[in-house]
Structures are given as C-alpha cells and as structure tokens.
Symmetry: C2
Subunit: 463 residues, 2 copies
Amino acid sequence: VTPRLLVLGGDAAGMTAASHVRRSAPEVEVVVMERGPYTSYSMCGIPYYVGGLIESASDLVVRTPEEHREAGIVVHTHSEARSIDAEARTVRVVDLRDGTEREEPYDALLYAVGAHPTLPSVPGADEHGFGVRTLDEGVRLRHALSRLQPDAKIVVVGAGYIGIELAEALVQRGYRAVLLDRSAQVMKPLDPEMAEYVEKRLVEFGIRVSMGEELLEVRGSDGRVTAVVTDKGIHPADFVILSASSRPSVGMAVRAGCTLGDSGALWVDGRMRTSVPGIWAAGDVVESVNLVDGSRHNVQLGTHANKQGKVAGIDLVAVLRGEEGGDATFDGHVGTAITKVCEWEIARTGLTERECVDGGIDYAAVHFSGTGTAGYLSDPGIVHVKMLAEAGTGRLLGAQLVGNEGGVGKRIDVAATWCQLRLTAQEAQFIDLAYAPPFGGVWDLLQIGARKLVGQLGLSPQL
Amino acid sequence: VTPRLLVLGGDAAGMTAASHVRRSAPEVEVVVMERGPYTSYSMCGIPYYVGGLIESASDLVVRTPEEHREAGIVVHTHSEARSIDAEARTVRVVDLRDGTEREEPYDALLYAVGAHPTLPSVPGADEHGFGVRTLDEGVRLRHALSRLQPDAKIVVVGAGYIGIELAEALVQRGYRAVLLDRSAQVMKPLDPEMAEYVEKRLVEFGIRVSMGEELLEVRGSDGRVTAVVTDKGIHPADFVILSASSRPSVGMAVRAGCTLGDSGALWVDGRMRTSVPGIWAAGDVVESVNLVDGSRHNVQLGTHANKQGKVAGIDLVAVLRGEEGGDATFDGHVGTAITKVCEWEIARTGLTERECVDGGIDYAAVHFSGTGTAGYLSDPGIVHVKMLAEAGTGRLLGAQLVGNEGGVGKRIDVAATWCQLRLTAQEAQFIDLAYAPPFGGVWDLLQIGARKLVGQLGLSPQL
C-alpha cells in the first residue's frame, strides 16, 4: 500500500517538507491542505507589496499550487482542517468554497498551520480594521488603500517589525501614518536604549509614533473609519491597520493530544515530532530551544520554518520507510532577527539585557557607537552597538546593531555565529575579520565590543 | 634601573605595542625609532587620499609623534635603524636629516619595520616610477598628479588591492588609467573565475586592463614619462605608478640571528618572540600560521599588525617585569581580505581552490550566483559566491564573494568565523542567520553554499 503523508498548511514549513518527501520518496503520496488560495509565499514581503515596491502579489509566491501539483504533490487550496483523530489517523477537512466536509486519512501528519493574529477585541476592530498577516489580507489591504485620498491619515496598531515596515511604506506613498502601541517602546526584541534610536529615526522619517497608548475602540460611520480611541485620547483617522502579534495556531493539535511547551506553542523534539505518534509539527506553530540559555520560545520566522520543514521532511521519509528516524535535527535558534526601515538597518541576536536580568544571568553589557566605514572617509555613517557577555566565562550572550550604513545589519550574522558556537569575548577578539577602509576601522565593531566586554569583566587576555 | 623597550618602526604593530607597554608598565622606558616623518597611520587609506576622497594626509594619521610623546613614549622620527647587536643589546641608528649615527641600548627590542616594495628592476623604473607604499610616497604622488593634464594617461603597474584601488581613484578623477600586471589575473588572492568578475567590472568602469604583460622599461625624457615598454608592446604614458608587491624587511633581523620561516618572513612564536632572546617582532615583517591548513604565510594587513602589536606588548610587559610571559597569543590567520572597487565589494577568506590543489587537499568547490536582497525586490543586485569544503569531513575551507550590493563584502566575516572555528558545512546549515527581504532570500547565500557543498560531498544531513 502507498504510505500517505498529509500536510496541514501550504506555506514555508509545510511545502518545504512536502517537497522534500516528494523528491526523496516517490512511493509516498503527499497531500497538502491549505486554507487560503496561495502556497509557498513570502510573508515577510507583504509590507513591500502593500507599499507598492512590489507590483504584483504573485511576485511573492515562490511556488504556486499548480507548480507543486506538477511536481507531484496533491494540493487542496481553500481547504481548512477542522479536527484531527489521532487514533484513526484522519483529519476532518472543510472546503471553504462550498462548505462540504470530508475525512482525509494519513499515515503521517505534518501540522504546519502557522499562526493567527491576536487582534484587539475592542469595539469596531473587526468591522473597520485591516489585518496584514496573510497574502490574502495584503491584497485586500492594498486594494483598500488605493481608494483612499492621497494624504489620508492611517493608524497602524502594533509597533513590531511588520507594523513599522508598513508605516514606512505608507509614508513613502504619501499617506500620514500614526504608529500606535501599548508597549512603551517600538521593537520589543531590542533593549529600550537601542529601540530609542529606531523610534527617533521613525519620527525623523515622518511617522507619528505614539507609544504606551492602548487601543480602546475603532470608530466609524457608513463603513468608513473616522477615529481611533485610546486610553490617552482620540486620533482622527481615515483608515486602521491592525498589526498585532500572532499566536501559534495550536488548538486543533492540542485537541488531538499534542503537548504544549512552556511558550504556549507546540512541543516538538529535534526531529519535529510532537508528543502524539504520527504527528509532526513545524514552523510558526512550534517552539524551539534558545541555544544561548536553553529557554524555549515560539519564534515565527520564515528562515526557521524552512529549516524545520526540511528536518521534518527528512524524518518523515525515514519513518514512512520503516526506519528509526531521519539524521537531521533542528537543535534550536539564537534569536537572530533583522529589518530595514527608513533606510536604517536594525538587527539583534541572542539575549537582550532584559532577558539576562529576567533569567538571573550574571552578565556585562557594553553600548557604544561607531562608524560604518573608516572615520576619515566622507559620510562614514553611524552604527550603535550593544553586546552582552556572561560574567566569569566571558561567553557571548547577545548583540544588537542599529545603523544607517549599508550592510551593517547583516553583520549580526557574525555575532549570531559566535553566540551559537558558544564563543567567548576573549576568543572573539582573535577571529580574522575583514578590514578595509570602506568597511570600518581596523578593529571591527564587534571586536571592539568584545574587547570592551573582556575589559569590563576583568578577564584575560584583553587585546 | 629602568628597563628599556626599544621599538623599531612607528606604525600599527610598533605603536600598538609601545602604547600598551606605556599604559601598563609605567616603570618601563619606551623608545621608538621611525624612519619617516609619520607614526600610526592608515596605509590602507593611501589610495583614497591619492584619489582625493580624503582631503589631507593628516586625516590618515591616527596618532602623531607629538601625541605619542604626550602619552609618555619617546618617539624619534627620521631615525633609521641600521644594525642590531643582539649580544650587546644595542641598535645602531642613523638620523636621516643630518646623517649622524648613534647606539641605542635596549633590554627588549620590538622589530616592527614593516615591508618594502619589490620594485621592478627595469630601466627607468627608479627614475620615473612613483611608489605608493608609505604615506610619504602618497603625498609625493598626489602632488605630482596635481601637475598632470586632466586627461593624462597613467599606467599603474601591479593589479593587487592597492593597484586596483588606485586605478579606480584615477578614473574617478578623470585620468585615463591602464592597469598592467605580468600575472594572468587581477587580484591573485581570488580564484581565476572570481577574479574575472572583478576584471570585467574594472573594464566596465573605464580602466584599461592589460594582464599577462611584463614591464621591461619605463621611458622618459626631460624628467617626464613618455611610455611604458612591456613584452607585449609599448604603452604611451604620461605617468607611471609602481604598485608591486612588498617583501617583509627582514634583513637587519636576519643579520642579528633571527630565524626566517618558510615564507621568507620572520619566524615568531605565539607571543611574537623571534628565535633571538630579547627580540620580538610583529606586523608585516613576520609570518603567521594559516589556521585552515597549518601553512605559514607573510600576511601584510593592518588588522593583524594591530593584534600582533597588542600580543607583543602584553608579553613585553610580563617579561620586562621578570615574569615568564604574557597570557595572550596570536595563533594565526585564516586569510580574510576585503576591498571595494568600482562600487563592487570583493572579499575572500580561507583557502582558494588553487591553494587546495597545491596543498594536496581533497575538497569540493561550489560556485554560484545569487542576489543581495530578495529576488522580488527591485534591483536585487548580484553576488557571486564560491565556497570550498574538505571531502570526508565537510570542514569549510574557504569562501570568496564578489558582488554589487552594499554589505555583501562584510558577509565574509561569517565564513571567516566558520573557517577559523573549524565548522563543517553540515553544521553551517543550522546557524541562525538573519533574514529579511532587504537582505537576501530566506536561505542566506553562505548557507546555500553550505547545502550545495554537503550535497556535492555526499554528506549528511543535507538541508
């Protein structure tokens, strides 16, 4: 008999696994259920599409359902899974176009349904607010924006990566943008003093930033937004975009018996197996280990979804062939993230100072500013750097970069590698990093930080 | 009695060590002999100064002799060491301004006199050619250029980093530049197919490139250059710059008994001690270990000179205090280098394919092209990537990057870290590198390379 892999969710994690199994195990039937009309698209590209930097939504689609079908994967779009029977190994699926329901059997199930936005449950939000989580929503949003007055005032609720990228895109298109969040700082994955550089830049760019303000109501009349009401006052508005954070969509898996981890996302082992036999999970629904401090977090990033999908695919092939398991494991993350907004590059990896404090870690932190090229070149740019290391050992715990020089952001990958490989600040001083005047001073910024950390911790040798 | 440290050479290595000893050991007398008028300047900045991107030569000087003197270091400029008596612990020094000679005693000697260009010994080269190795020469060169016709034709002999950077600067200033080298390719630290991208770009930028051509004569009359004669023909020219490679200035140290290494530069141990008691060496005069294959090379880079100077300074303080030695060692390099020319960024680390072949290493190489941002963004740029890994183990051996997207070059630091920490391509796939559309695809270029290497070597797991 033909073993049957059923994949719930047709984006990064699901389709990466499906494609791997399709290529590696011709004997397996691979079936995908996707709720929306698209597969394999770049969620991170949505703000650029909404902002008009990308012409067509299809540019964000890496592979269409048709292309997957041509590769031999059975793809059902507009098909939403409703419940899993882990004993019978079946999934109840509804066709969203006609409401018909059916049972889909499986030998192995990959649960990769992603996350859903936690929209504020305030009056008017559902009726008047536009979401921006899926490409579907992005298309609706862009269409709605095109019908606004050129200088319409748009309130973006949620000052995370997507919210900020959207606010920038709106200002670039000529709208007046207000960025609003109940948090005290923009971009919570940064420490407050680093987030301040970002906020300052947003304001300079023309975005009105209102932090520490809680949304209470979205007001409208005749189907049009008129104002946003917060605990601080009333913002007249022509349009509202809700870009709140997203929660992993674990419900169906939990009802099937899958264990949740500390983070509230699905627990999985290194091979992406849940606690229920026959069910794997990958992508935004799972939690993974932070390799710096061993804590477990739900990190919703396409880069992890891809890697986890591949690891799951490798294991699925092995198991469906009766072997013990695949030889790949996803061991965790170090919390690397990056964005570019208002021409500035912002990046982080490892733990923030706040996370060190909360985790009871004895640490040193350094915070300094440098240039993106040699200081004697014209317009050398500015880069703000924060780095952390563990007291006693000197082990590097984290880094944050905010700067206006091209390429600054991706330098976080060096710090990410250092954190993931458990390098100490003492050792980091001796890594053979590249130097030439257009790229910085003779001491790389990250090595200046390492030297400062060694000095502050009283460790040796300090260069 | 006051212990006396004598430093020969007042640039990166020498002054870094001198400054460290000055700060850490107030009881030591620190004396520096520098042949030229400057101390502590950025040699790498000279092409930018010659090209007019930097107004004044003094902008390249990090710290002047006066500033060092204020810090308590005795600095003699225009003072050239002629011979070392390692038994008596004295150095014979000549004052270049008046020709007077004297003996300078030492308890410890740091030999940091750098390198000297290997100018072609062809007729007319001495008389008509301009060098570009020291800031002194840079000042003379810029002055001489200012007296040329705006569209003068300038031949640059030597297609290494400095030669290429100079040719670019000349074209930007409106001159006609010819880049000439007897080597078959520009930028020998790259593999030929990667160097080809660079050569193509230079030509596109307006530089005439003549490779595989050997200089035979520099012709002139009335003190002015008229032509450059090579084995291939005659290039009419108004000016000639000789930017040939440089040899470590080891002569005086060798006569004092210091052992040379395989590379022809001075052998030193990890604390920068030569084979002669009482003599340390650092910077362009020494060789160091390539941590990838254990071979020893003379790498003339300011970044190593700074680190080695610091390591020497730490050891000098310990030894001058009667202790066994400093706790810092310079263990080696991985051959990281970078430049930016004609708006392109070029970087390399580890071994080239040629070096793998010459070293009898069993390896795999991958060579591919990608984009600097997500492909769906407008103008995503192009990045050419080459990576190498060892057969059997998958250990990463080297990487080369050539691209036109800002920030591409410094991504070499990730590969440099991987090579130095002996990471395998299998492991590299799982490093948590940053992803967002303005910075590339969901798979980082270096991880795409790692995956390809794993596949090509038939290793597991391959993502």
